[in-house]
Each structure stands twice: as structure tokens, then as C-alpha cells.
């Protein structure tokens, strides 16, 4: 049974057909990369899947339920979390608070619990903070110690990307959508993050879809690669197949020697 199965996904903005009937499926425990030139519809694919925009047509079945048209918060609650291409943190909340916000949909205490400080509230607050620290510890010393109390706005670019992944992890998802997680990172940081993406599956058991421009990352992390171009799926397969495919090279790689691709 596929964890996420998408059939005939269509979305257009004004006259622009961002997605023209994309099919996609991913099974539990897989790591799939989505690549494609700029404007191929990769981020639109994430936006529609995560509910930021409703699809014009098509079905999105997640854990055997059609989630097309649900608002983003309910999709997140059902276990599908994401990060953004242009990092979207809560800049004036601290690192710890940012991650605690991610726990929101996993907790139930409401206004009454907060006002009366009920046992449930105390327990949940404690768990929320513990969980947030645990998630952050996944990044080793990068986001620990004094950084927990720093506002997100002062973090380095790489750390913001890490924090965003941490926040998505805190929503306790089954499926994680990472939109260009290594963009703007130096080679060392990229290598580190590549390893972390692998660990997301082996240690945390997440299923991951990643949009990536860095072919080295794609080659290293993915079980399968999906190539999008002009809102349609060009081809999919393992990295070796993809990287030698004529149509892909024509549409995207063009110059195989430039590994940064069209970024």
C-alpha cells in the first residue's frame, strides 16, 4: 500500500499551467527525489500536496484518504509535514519555541487547560518541550545550548534550514517533504545534511520526498528520482537510469559537467 498516491494532479495559476496531470506514489520508508529545471512545477507540486493551494483536478491519497482540498493544518495533522524553499521560520520566536509550535497539532490542551493549569496541560507542556529538545538533538551541537533561546532570525542560513527541518519533524509526520534542503549551504554542510536525510529514514523512520538541485545529494540519498518538466512527469527511476536518460539530459542536465544544475 502506497503511503502517498497522487493521480492526475493539475493546477494552473492564471494562464500558467504549473502542474498538468502529475502522477506520483511513494511507499513507506522510501526516499524519493524530485528534480527538474526551474519552473518545472516542483514547488507547486509540494504546495498543492501540502494543501497551500487546492488542486484543480486529481486525487491525493495519503494513508488511504483523499486529502485533496483539505486546509494545510489538517493535512499536517494527518502526518504530512514540509519545509519551504525560501525558509519560513517564525523569526522572532526562539529556536525552541519554533520547534514547540510544530508540536501544536499533536497536543490537545486548550484555553481552559491553560487558564486552570490542568494536569493534562502540565503533562503536555512538559512533553512538548522534551520532544522539541529531542528533535533538536538530532542536529547535534548545531542547534543546542545557548542557541535554543536565540530568536530564529539571528541564525545562520544553514541553521535556519536545519531548524525548519526540526520544526517539520516536530509535527510527528509520516511523510516529510523537504524543499531544497541544501540550498545555500557550503559543501561541508551539504554533506552533513545529506547524511542527516539518510538518518531521517534509518533512525527516525520517516518517509521523505526531497526537491533538490544538487545532483550529488540526489545520487546519495534517493531510492528513486522523479523528473518534472513543464508540469508533467518526464520519467522516473533510480539515479543511474535518470542521469543517463536522453530526455532528461536534454530537458534538464544539458551540461552534465555542471553539477549544481540550474540552481
Amino acid at each position: 500500500m502506497a503511503l502517498l498516491e497522487i493521480v492526475g494532479l493539475k493546477k494552473s495559476f492564471g494562464g500558467l499551467n504549473a502542474l498538468q496531470g502529475v502522477d506520483f506514489r511513494i511507499d513507506r520508508g522510501e526516499i524519493v527525489s524530485i528534480i527538474g529545471p526551474n519552473g518545472a512545477g516542483k514547488t507547486s507540486f509540494f504546495n498543492v500536496t501540502s494543501g497551500i493551494f487546492p488542486p484543480d483536478a486529481g486525487t491525493i491519497r495519503f494513508k488511504d484518504e483523499d486529502i485533496a482540498g483539505l486546509p494545510p493544518n489538517l493535512i499536517t495533522e494527518r502526518g504530512l509535514a514540509r519545509t519551504f524553499q525560501n525558509v519560513k521560520l517564525f523569526p522572532n520566536l526562539t529556536v525552541l519555541e519554533n520547534v514547540m509550535v510544530g508540536q501544536h497539532c499533536r497536543r490537545r490542551s486548550g484555553a481552559w487547560d491553560a487558564i486552570l493549569r490542568t494536569p493534562r496541560f502540565r503533562r503536555e507542556e512538559r512533553e512538548t518541550e522534551e520532544r522539541a529538545r529531542e528533535v533538536l538533538s538530532f542536529f547535534g551541537s548545531r542547534l543546542s545550548g545557548y542557541r535554543l533561546e536565540q530568536p530564529a532570525s539571528v541564525l545562520s542560513y544553514a541553521n535556519r534550514r536545519r531548524l525548519e527541518i526540526a520544526r517539520a519533524m516536530a509535527t510527528e509526520p509520516d511523510l516529510l517533504l523537504l524543499d531544497e534542503p541544501t540550498a545555500g549551504m557550503n559543501p561541508r554542510e551539504t554533506a552533513e545534511l545529506t547524511e542527516l536525510i539518510g538518518k531521517l529514514r534509518t533512525e527516525k523512520g520517516f518517509t521523505v520526498v526531497v526537491i533538490e538541485h544538487d545532483m550529488k545529494v540526489v545520487a546519495n540519498v534517493s531510492d528513486r528520482v522523479v523528473v518534472l518538466d513543464h508540469g508533467v512527469k518526464l520519467i522516473e527511476g533510480d539515479y543511474a537510469t535518470i542521469s543517463t536518460d536522453e530526455t532528461v539530459i536534454e530537458a534538464y542536465l544539458g551540461r552534465p559537467e555542471s553539477k549544481e544544475g540550474a540552481a
Binding site: 498516491e5 493521480v7 486525487t59 491519497r61 488511504d64 484518504e65 483523499d66 486529502i67 485533496a68 482540498g69 483539505l70 486546509p71 489538517l74
Partner: protein
């Protein structure tokens, strides 16, 4: 195998219907019912020969048109500033009030000097010139002192500032000019009565108001569409950064936007004096908020839209209370005139914030 051929999934509702939607629908249905029953009642009354006569309705329509033309003029200022800077200049009503109140002193002086009786056309021209000058200056000074430093601030900061400016101007004027209502002089001679247009007798004052408003609007339309400065204003409204790259002086253009908006408010100020006579420091608030409603009605940033929105709101406000609320049998409906206007504002912003004719605002202002 595709999903459609698979076993039917537990399908969640495509569009979730929340409590908020319930309330929104309740408001929609309520508004339609009120308007529907009101119209039905009024038409019934009219056919039965009860309620206001045909001439009374005609006068209401004319009054609504005159008032609406004035709202349209003020609305231009809201609309243009929103188009260019992306915030509601709450103090624009005060710009209008300032022109009107200072205009009163000019009119008063002309009455005492005798010009008002001798040559009313010249007197009106002077009156409008005075009130336009005052309002324009006021708008430009406000921009310089209060708003210029807030260009990059979050959208709500200039709005809150403009509320402060509005307060400050109102109560400065109450201190400077006192709290008594100043009363514009009536138009002299035949102009105080009615003139006949196509056999329909219309109050001369209202006719003058409508004519002057139309002239001002044509002038503005020409200015915005045919002059360099007008083009610069439109370019800056579209995208400030690119306009600057194209060699447009953004600061100067923004000042011009305020100046033009202020000038139109000045014209409206003089017309308000002729139409309603009484003016005092807090007079700016209600016409201001109604003009903002007009701007939204016509689509923020849309110049012809603002004019049309003003006329529509004026008509609605003139005829609406009697037509709708009167039809429901509610007593003393004129008291509820402002309720009707505020309801129009609220309903418009909630259900169609982009206006009837489409808003035109820069890309960075679309939230």
C-alpha cells in the same frame, strides 16, 4: 492501476464547512432577506399609494447623487494612496475637513465683502481654490511628517499612525477654531432655489455640486492618464523599485499622489459646505469613512472605480434607508442612514474586498 479503480477511499469532504462559514452564510442570507423584504414592502407601499411620493423619491435620488459625487472625490485620495503605499490613510477625512472648515472662513469673508452676492461664480471659484490649497498642503505635510519614515514598516504601523494623525488634526482644529458649528452661507438669489433640467426641477445647489464634481473628476482623469506625473504615479503604484530603476523620483511621485488626493478632498470640502452647510472639527470622520467605503466598493487603487463607488454609495445611502428599512416598517429610518452606510462597508469588505470593478494595487501589497 489508478486510484479511481482502487477500492473507494474514505473520502473527506472537499470543502470543509466550519462554524465560520455558517456565520458568514447567516450574514449573507440575512442581508439578502432584509433587502428583499424591504424592497418588497416599499414597492407594495408605493403601489398602494402609501409612503413617500414619487417626487420625494426623485429628490432622494438627486440628493444621493450629489452626496455620492462628493464621496467619490474624497475616495480618490484613499484609493490612490492605498494604490501607491498600500495603507489606509485614516487621516484623509481630516484633510477634507480642513479644506472645508478653512473654506468657510473664505466664504464668510466674501459674504461680508459682498462678492458672494455680486458674482457667485467668481466667489465659488475662490472658495474652491482656498479649500483645495489648504487640503493639498495638509496632505503633503502629513506625508512628510508622519508617513515618509514608515515606508518600510509593516502595513499596520502607518495605519495606526494615520489614526493618531486623524485624532491630532481633529483636536487641533477644535482648539484652534473652537467647537461651534460654522455654517456656510446659502447660495444667493435664484441659485438658492430649484432649476429645471429637462423638465425636472432640481435644487440648484445639488446641480452645482454634481457639475463641479464631474469637472474635477475629468481633470483628475486627464492628469493621471495623460501627464508625465500621472504616468509616474501609476508606475509607482505598480512597483516602487522598478519605477525607481526607470528613473522615476519615487519620493516626489508619492508627494504628488498625496497632493492630488488632497486637492480632490479640498474640492469635496467646498462642496460639502454648499451641500450641508454646517461644518465643525469632527465633520471629517463620517464622510471619510464613507469615502473609504466608496473606494473599496469601486476597487482600491482603481480611479474610475472610486468615482463610481462614491456615486453608488451616495445613492444607496440616499435611497436605501427609506427603500429597505422603510419597507420593513422600521420607524425613523433617517437615524439609521449611517448604519446602512457602515453595513455596506462591512459587507463589502467581508464578501468582496476587491470591489465591484477590481482592485489595482502593487504586487507587494497583495497580502
Amino acid at each position: 492501476m489508478t486510484a479511481t479503480s482502487a477500492a473507494p477511499a474514505r473520502r473527506s469532504r472537499q470543502r470543509r464547512f466550519t462554524a465560520v462559514d455558517v456565520i458568514l452564510w447567516a450574514i449573507r442570507i440575512g442581508a439578502v432577506l432584509i433587502i428583499g423584504f424591504g424592497l418588497f414592502g416599499s414597492v407594495g407601499n408605493f403601489l398602494a399609494g402609501q409612503g413617500p411620493s414619487a417626487t420625494a423619491w426623485r429628490d432622494l435620488v438627486v440628493a444621493g447623487l450629489a452626496q455620492g459625487a462628493m464621496y467619490g472625490l474624497i475616495a480618490l485620495g484613499y484609493s490612490m494612496v492605498y494604490g501607491v503605499l498600500g495603507f489606509i490613510n485614516f487621516a484623509h477625512g481630516e484633510v477634507f475637513m480642513a479644506g472645508s472648515l478653512i473654506g468657510f472662513f473664505a466664504a464668510d469673508a466674501m459674504v461680508r465683502g459682498g462678492l458672494w452676492e455680486r458674482n457667485i461664480l467668481l466667489a465659488l471659484a475662490i472658495l474652491i481654490a482656498v479649500s483645495v490649497t489648504v487640503s493639498t498642503l495638509m496632505a503633503v505635510v502629513i506625508e512628510r511628517v508622519a508617513y515618509r519614515r514608515l515606508r518600510e514598516a509593516p502595513r499596520l504601523i502607518p495605519l495606526i499612525t494615520s489614526i493618531g494623525v486623524s485624532f491630532f488634526i481633529q483636536y487641533s482644529f477644535s482648539g484652534l477654531f473652537g467647537v461651534n458649528v460654522r455654517s456656510y452661507p446659502a447660495l444667493p438669489g435664484a441659485l438658492g432655489g430649484r432649476v429645471s433640467i429637462l423638465g425636472v426641477p432640481i435644487e440648484a445647489t445639488k446641480l452645482i455640486v454634481i457639475v463641479v464634481a464631474i469637472i474635477a473628476m475629468i481633470g483628475l482623469f486627464y492628469f493621471v492618464n495623460r501627464t508625465r506625473t500621472g504616468r509616474a504615479i501609476r508606475a509607482v503604484a505598480e512597483d516602487k523599485e522598478i519605477a525607481a530603476l526607470m528613473g522615476i523620483d519615487v519620493d516626489r511621485t508619492i508627494v504628488m499622489t498625496f497632493a492630488v488626493g488632497g486637492a480632490m478632498a479640498g474640492v469635496a470640502g467646498a462642496l460639502y459646505g454648499l451641500l450641508f452647510r454646517g461644518i465643525v472639527f469632527y465633520t471629517g470622520f463620517l464622510p471619510g469613512i464613507k469615502a473609504f467605503t466608496s473606494a473599496v466598493l469601486g476597487g482600491i487603487g482603481n480611479i474610475p472605480g472610486a468615482m463610481a463607488g462614491g456615486v453608488l454609495l451616495g445613492l444607496f445611502e440616499g435611497v436605501g434607508p427609506l427603500l429597505i428599512l422603510g419597507g420593513l416598517g422600521i420607524p425613523s429610518v433617517t437615524q439609521l442612514k449611517d448604519v446602512v452606510a457602515f453595513s455596506a462597508l462591512v459587507l463589502m469588505l467581508i464578501f468582496r474586498p476587491s470591489g465591484l470593478f477590481g482592485e489595482r494595487i502593487g504586487s507587494e501589497d497583495r497580502a
